[in-house]
């Protein structure tokens, strides 16, 4: 995972793993919580590398969304078709903000915490 900070309150986290499963989710959650601790009010998760998300991965994403609270936004970027179907099955495609390119992802993230 690599993290960029387009500004002090928005972190773009780029996954490197191809599977977001029970094994991976624990570590990813720890890192994302640390990123929120470090000041990220909203997160953009670049899922370019991710080809598979299991139920634990989904649970982890929801726990991060809840952790960000009402003021923050969780934006999923570059979600592959199969992962999208997994999210859609539990209707989380309506809950997460989803973006196709980085500029609009950062825009979505900024929209909720900007003045």
């Amino acid at each position: 995972m690599r993290t960029d900070w387009p500004d002090a309150h928005i972190a773009v986290v780029r996954f490197t793993a191809s599977r977001l499963d029970a094994l991976e989710a624990v570590e990813v959650r720890r890192e994302l919580l640390a990123t929120i601790e470090a000041g990220a009010g909203s997160l953009v998760l670049d899922m370019q590398s991710v080809t598979f998300v299991d139920s634990s991965g989904i649970g982890m994403l929801v726990s991060i969304l809840k952790r960000l609270g009402m003021a923050g936004t969780l934006v999923l970027l570059h979600v592959n078709e199969h992962v999208m179907a997994t999210l859609a099955l539990v209707q989380l495609d309506r809950v997460f903000a989803i973006a196709q390119d980085e500029a609009s992802a950062i825009g979505l993230a900024r929209g909720d915490i900007g003045p």
Partner: protein
């Protein structure tokens, strides 16, 4: 191989090996004076026999012996598993770098210069005793871990046995309905639950529930949910029989914890035993498969949110009419996501195609056959995720005939 148990606190048994009797007796006498139990051997072969038979843990061996010399003895001891560590000290008049390296390569732990000096011997024995005590502690801990692991596994097996006793009868008849259920756990206990309940003479309730993840945590949660569903949920909703209300109640009563890993997906259906009308709530569970009597198949269910994520979530009721001779399949994602060796998921399309070919079989035979096909697909006895399959038949005529 006989293995003698070495009691903690017992001093290590020392074996002195030398084909020359005088230095052998002298060394053995020193060892005994230093408070160690001691054995002697006149050559390498006798030494190996003694190490096999007695709980020797320190060997002090001369280098030059025939036919088995000190180096060969070291190599032979290292090659065998004695169930304990044997600390090897080579006696030598040699002090060259190459000699010491050869000794270490053969497995020697330490060297002692001939003729044996009592003080140097004492220091070597103390070092040996420390190493042996450390090694003994490690082995004991390893044995304790083995015992703990076996106990955990036994516990899980017992839990799995209890869980299997909660499974519904493999084949339930109710009015015009026949319902076959199958379940396969991925890790002894299952995070899937399935049940078929006769709610009243007119209604059959069936549900499949899949707790996030698998293993003990998911299984315990699944058991708690089942207890609640079969008790409070069904009692308080027997009148209305509203599946969406029951699921909404579960959503409020069982929110997921902070790490997000306790949510679950489920499909709860209330089926009219006479008309075949199905009212169901699909909460994050894969769509059902409807196989009309006339052939073909289609996916049923517009989807819905999972249970436990957000309080206040609205769950919707959907409906389906089963005509006489129709069949309905409910499969958990463990079945749809099961992968072949080349990584291809079993998938809903394949399940539909297989099921279409099994229309002539009873619900029970159809479910059994589909699981057989799935097992061949993932080529493994343990599926990666828990698997649940329900096969519901609405066969008004045949059932009425059988009763008549």
């Amino acid at each position: 191989m006989p293995k003698r148990l070495i009691l903690p606190g017992e001093r290590p048994l020392v074996l002195v090996v030398d084909d020359d009797a005088t230095p052998r007796r002298l060394a053995a006498a020193y060892v005994a004076q230093l408070g160690f139990p001691v054995l002697s051997a006149a050559d390498g072969e006798e030494a190996l026999r003694l190490i096999e038979r007695e709980p020797v843990t320190i060997v002090i061996s001369d280098w030059n012996m025939t036919p088995v010399d000190g180096l060969a003895l070291c190599r032979e001891v290292r090659a065998r598993d004695h169930g304990r560590y044997v600390y090897l000290v080579l006696l030598t008049a040699r002090s060259g770098r190459e000699d010491l390296l050869a000794g270490m390569r053969s497995g020697a732990d330490d060297f002692l210069v001939k003729p044996v000096d009592r003080e140097r011997l004492q220091v070597r024995l103390r070092a040996a005793e420390r190493i042996i005590s450390l090694e003994r502690g490690l082995r004991e801990r390893e044995a304790q871990l083995d015992v703990a692991l076996a106990a955990l596994r036994e516990d899980l097996e017992a839990a799995a046995f209890a869980q299997r006793q909660l499974l519904p009868a493999p084949n339930v008849h109710h009015g015009a309905l026949t319902c076959a259920t199958r379940q396969v756990a991925s890790s002894i206990v299952s995070g899937d639950i399935v049940n078929v309940v006769r709610l009243c003479p007119e209604r059959l309730v069936l549900y499949a529930l899949d707790v996030c993840g698998h293993g003990a945590r998911a299984a315990l949660r699944a058991s708690v949910l089942r207890h609640h569903l079969d008790g409070a949920s069904l009692r308080s909703n027997a009148g209305s029989g509203s599946p969406a209300t029951m699921v909404a109640e579960l959503n409020e009563r069982f929110p997921s914890g902070d790490d997000g890993l306790d949510y679950f997906t489920m499909l709860l259906a209330v089926v009219d035993a006479g008309s075949g009308e199905v009212r169901f709530c699909q909460a994050g569970f894969p769509p059902m498969i409807h196989l009309p009597a006339g052939g073909g198949s289609r996916l049923v269910g517009a989807g819905g949110p999972a249970v436990g994520f957000f309080p206040g979530t609205t769950f919707e009721e959907q409906r389906l009419a089963l005509a006489d001779g129709d069949r309905l399949l409910i499969a958990s994602d463990g079945m749809l996501e099961a992968r072949s060796s080349n990584g291809e998921a079993f998938g809903a399309e394949r399940l539909m195609a297989c099921a279409e070919r099994l229309g002539h079989l009873t619900a029970e035979a159809c479910a059994a056959s589909l699981l057989e096909t799935l097992r061949a697909w993932h080529e493994d006895d343990d599926p990666p995720d828990d698997i649940t399959l329900i096969c519901l038949d609405h066969r008004g005529d045949t059932h009425a005939n059988r009763l008549a």
